[in-house]
Symmetry: C2
Subunit: 710 residues, 2 copies
């Protein structure tokens, strides 16, 4: 269906020309018509006789409502009549409404009376669009009525959405079963309903000055969906968009930043305890292979490296300048970096926007923009890029190379990342502090990590996004091939925001983040420790090829808890086919339980674990294994760990690569056994049935979003 | 209001005498009247003229419904007419219904036609009672309508409930705000609604043969609550109750079991690797101070202890016999124990009900009952009671004494308890395996732990309860003084149960457990690791005296995550009064943030942590502290740990005892710092903002349920 953009343009131009921000109902109806959104039949009557003709045309009972730019609360003014039928009643109603309107506001312009088809039947739903401060235009869908308002059962997507996303929204509310026809009712016209969402998304995308759009209620019936009421608000500033760099431009700078051939340290110092001393020492101790260039106006060498009075004195190109000077000295030094042609500046110092020094930060950003320098920070611990042994931070070096890149907005969380990674020997490609995000932010890093062959997974702690749309664009690209885990801090409602539309009032800050991050294919971690565990585990696990998960356990008790965890993490226990069930039964005692979980029972020898695990790995219908180990004398922890690692390695050698996770219940030896397994690609934990399943669940969540399981 | 039990008795006796299990609507109405449950006015008409008179009496439109024991699906039979008004219409309606009933079932007894008041207005709610396999009579409350059925927003309590519990149920559904008057509506008559719940609870308690009772819908309005439809089902067997021991009887036996003066080991062995060898070795190595009595028909001594051919040969009394012989030898040996007067038998062997050998288990239980022996197990690892250095298990001894008693139904989970406790040095009073629970179960243990001065907190893993009411009784008693944490495994729905009532259909297995455990004052742990962490932390934390929680953090990023965790765990961040805010501000930098969280900012010296923590401890309006530490050079981890432990100890010396928990973000040194704090009464974790707050939340949940915060 074509969209009549000109018709919309005409209405909006006229409204804006009159200095109005709210559309009248007939104007809203025109917008709906132009984009093929079914709305109740209606018309504007400028006389009682016109109203009678319109009502006759529409047929059946009608609603009468005042149309006046000044009267926004029509019901309060007594200017809404419903269920009016018959010429005489319509005529009387028309006069009543005008009369009440005049008494309500003697100065109001009374454009006329809206005569509208009464719609009933079907389920009341709300479809709307609002302008989110982070993500811009978002569309919303929920069931109408007081219950849903109380239960806040609503779902959001960043606009524009495609037809499949629109369809997905219908199933994404908790009460979705109502639409599918609960208790034997006929299902509603899902295609029609999704079509309304899809078209509304196109409309607000084409006309960004539409700030709010409520279709409330929409009556969804088996025969179709039709909006009974339309409410539209404009914001002439809504069309503005933040500046965007091209992908090429971003990648050029980010590759200089993350893989520099030379790093200068502004404020490098020989004095122990100074940040400029720690940074230089870490660069050198970390084994960085590029040129290390201390800048210090008073020293000839710093820690044995030839030093320069200023960055301008450095011979050759400088890719990165790490700032280890107090905030007040940053602008002048950054000017010198600009003159030198430095590609990126890493601003460790605090004392900028986070302490209220916004003007100083703005000044620094302006200097950087003038010279085309990208800024990381300020107010950060620095960053690591292990493939180049780059450790440009005042924290201690980190050298366990691996596939996960971690970033944090907060320094405290950055330190937790470092400590956790070190103690768990997590293989890391990069750790990056973002701090105040005066320039480089999460989407720049995602662009880099997407094309970085060393990074297999990204985990990000963030409190806000500067440009939510840029983040979503970058996340959608990278998550096709690599999982992205996000810890979004600040779940608490920001309190009631000044919402002038119904949709806006439903758009709690965290709910929009939650839905849009999922839309972008991102796995949201519920807490800090979850983010860290997902980061550690996701690059270790192979990508599953399907949804069939099998639990093999030596302890029935663990099996029950592992099943609970599967439900909690959206994993599907395989309905084991009879031949496979039979095959499993051959390896387990007669009183063991096949089915799923497969309870091999306690007290079994290593061979029982080995054969059942091998069977699960080799059968192509099984896509992932969850193992529950129970510490016994017959199969001690390390025996279990070694046999499991061996069987998994054998299968991988044969080209069979399936995710395997394990929960080890036992005395303290299970800790060493878990480490042994983790180091060999089996995500294993002692004393918990939840964590291994949660990590597997995160891998599945990503794989589904990336379309790898269809 | 009095209850007319005789009226109910007459109806039930008459129905049961006729061999019916379903009450007719008028019979149901009689039950309501007898217990003061308001129900729609109605009467039974045996002629059209009677119907006309009844309708005139009731006034307004009425509903007409067939009354026939054979016609249960009245609507399907076309035998329900609604909105009938006026003598002529009532008369016609009466004839129509009888006509349709005869055509539907020519052989049906047509008792007459029910003439019922039509009720509209208010919110439709459902109030019901059903018979749960675990907890017996439970009452249910939820909002009516398809939405709530889809969202399963319903709450249960074990009957009988008191008035305050009834009132609590109204607030315990997600959509509770609807009843309180969402969107400016008038609130419903909560007292009236709660009264219906309370009276229904009394009715099904007084008459256990009532198996199902639906009041659906009940119309809840500001003016009162009135049931529009009543449906009652009987089960003559519903009155049977499981056998109960008196509390004195239970305690006498449990004290013998847990604190025996002598322990015999049936099947004690000199052969390494045998269970009877491990058990005896552990008893001796664990340092048990009572008499250790090996029983072995072929040995004179076992591991240096004088052995006996049979238990009958042992001189003096034997409190406990631990069985370490194969299952088939248990009955004979247990008979000998009975002859000897042994108080309790601990059945380690497997090979009973869990492997299908139900008859053997029944035989053993019968022998025990005959002799008055209490049985622990079978199919268990044994048990520990550290105050007496008692280690009657084949697992290794455990000697960190402390306040938590842990029990598990599964051996695997028992091993996880042991390993976790050992690695975290959790102070333990008892670890008990329950296995098949042929006799001793959770309520017996709760009775013991309640009066055990060494136990401060109980944590239990369970998959089912043999006698849910006995458990709730015991839990209600002990939770007044000691927290009980339960990990209930098996959250997954057991599939649709054969439900003949609406309430029964809503009573999903886990939902009833969840509500009733909460009703009993129990803290339900969401997973195994949570249960273990709660068990470790709850005895360490003092009981809070009020709801005012304050976060003090060195890292703003942690502060946000800690706030999120407070919301997730039902904790209330204190609204810091201006004078206290001012006092905090004196210690923190001007760009720090007072309020709550109090962000002292990174890079602060130890003194800032110390003074703000001291302030929070000393101000009597603050009830609990959550600390967020950020690793810096200025305040290294152990410096933070030592100062915090010192300030907390100082406060305790002054009689100030408040729960303090901490999240440490930093490099690996924070692990040692966390241990240091934990050992000194501050529940502290590295790399997580969630866990310390979850443990504090669990403590609060218990304290609220115990009525300590009112």
């Amino acid at each position: 269906m074509g969209h009549d953009k000109q018709a919309v343009r005409r209405v909006l131009d006229a409204v804006l020309a009159e200095g109005r921000s709210a559309l009248t109902a007939p104007e809203g109806r025109t917008l709906c018509d132009a984009y093929g959104i079914p709305a109740a039949a209606e018309g504007l009557a400028r006389s009682a006789e016109q109203a009678v003709l319109l009502a006759a045309d529409i047929g059946g009972p009608v609603a009468l409502k005042i149309v006046s730019p000044e009267i926004l609360h029509k019901t309060e003014a007594g200017c809404v009549l419903t269920g009016i039928e018959g010429a005489q009643n319509v005529r009387a109603g028309y006069e009543t409404i005008l009369d009440r309107a005049r008494r309500y506001d003697a100065n109001a312009t009374l454009t006329g009376v809206q005569v509208q088809q009464m719609i009933t039947g079907g389920h009341e739903v709300i479809i709307g669009a609002t302008t989110d401060p982070t993500f811009g235009k978002v569309v919303a869908f929920g069931l109408g009525g007081v219950l849903v308002e109380v239960l806040e059962d609503v779902t959001f997507r960043m606009a524009p959405i495609n037809a499949s996303e629109a369809r997905g929204m219908l199933g994404d509310i908790k009460a979705a079963a109502v639409l599918r026809g609960a208790r034997g009712a006929e299902p509603v016209d899902a295609a029609g309903l999704a079509g309304v969402l899809h078209r509304l998304s196109a409309l607000v995308t084409d006309f960004p000055e539409i700030s709010e759009f409520d279709l409330n209620p929409v009556f969804a019936a088996p025969s179709g969906a039709i909006a009974a009421d339309v409410r539209v608000l404009l914001d002439p500033d809504g069309a503005r968009r933040p500046r965007r760099r091209s992908r090429e431009e971003i990648l050029r700078a980010m590759n200089k930043l993350m893989r520099p051939a030379s790093v200068a340290v502004i404020g490098a110092s020989n004095e122990d305890g100074k940040i400029g001393n720690s940074v230089l020492r870490n660069l050198a101790d970390g084994g960085y292979g590029g040129r290390i260039l201390p800048v210090n106006p008073k020293a000839d060498t710093v820690l044995g490296h030839r030093a320069y009075r200023s960055i301008g004195d450095v011979p050759g190109e400088v890719d990165v300048a790490v700032f280890a000077v107090p905030a007040k000295f940053v602008p002048a030094a950054l000017e010198e970096c600009g003159a030198k042609g430095v590609a990126a500046a890493v601003l460790i110092p605090s004392g900028f926007a986070e302490t209220g020094e916004t003007a100083l930060q703005d000044e620094v950003v302006a200097i950087a923009e003038k010279h085309g320098i990208r800024l990381l920070g300020p107010n950060i611990y620095g960053y690591y890029y292990t493939p180049h042994d780059l450790c440009a931070t005042f924290c201690t070096p980190y050298d366990v190379r691996g596939g996960v890149a971690l970033t944090s907005q907060s320094g405290g969380i950055g330190m937790a990342i470092l400590g956790f990674s070190r103690t768990t020997r997590t293989g890391v490609s990069a750790i990056v502090g973002l701090g105040n995000k005066s320039d480089v932010d999460e989407d720049d890093l995602l662009a880099f990590f997407e094309q970085d062959e060393h990074t297999k997974c990204v985990a990000m702690h963030l409190e806000d996004l500067k440009d939510g749309r840029a983040f979503v664009d970058a996340a959608r690209r990278i998550t096709r091939t690599k999982p992205v885990v996000v810890l979004k801090a600040g779940r608490t409602e920001l309190g009631a925001r000044a919402a002038s539309s119904h949709t806006g009032a439903l758009a709690g800050d965290d709910k929009v983040y939650d839905d849009v991050l999922r839309q972008a294919g991102v796995v949201r971690a519920p807490g800090l420790n979850d983010m860290l565990e997902y980061a550690r585990g996701l690059p270790v696990l192979p990508t599953p090829q399907g949804e069939n998960v099998v639990i093999i356990t030596g302890a029935g008790g663990s099996g029950v808890l592992l099943s609970d965890a599967c439900v909690a993490n959206g994993l599907r226990l395989m309905d084991v086919p009879p031949d496979l069930d039979e095959a499993f039964r051959r390896h387990i005692p007669p009183f063991g339980a096949a089915g799923n979980p497969i309870d091999i029972t306690g007290g079994e020898p290593p061979r029982t674990y080995e054969e059942t695990i091998r069977l699960g790995l080799r059968d192509p219908r099984v896509h992932a294994l969850i193992l529950g180990y129970w510490h016994t004398i017959v199969t001690p922890p390390m025996v279990f760990a070694e046999l499991t690692a061996r069987v998994v390695a054998e299968a991988r050698a044969e080209g069979i690569s399936k995710p395997v996770v394990a929960s080890l219940a036992g005395d303290v030896e299970v800790e060493q056994a878990s480490d042994h397994l983790y180091d060999r690609g089996v995500v294993a934990y002692p004393y918990t049935t939840e964590k291994p399943v949660a990590v597997l669940g995160a891998k599945y969540q990503w794989a589904r979003a990336a379309g790898l399981l269809d």
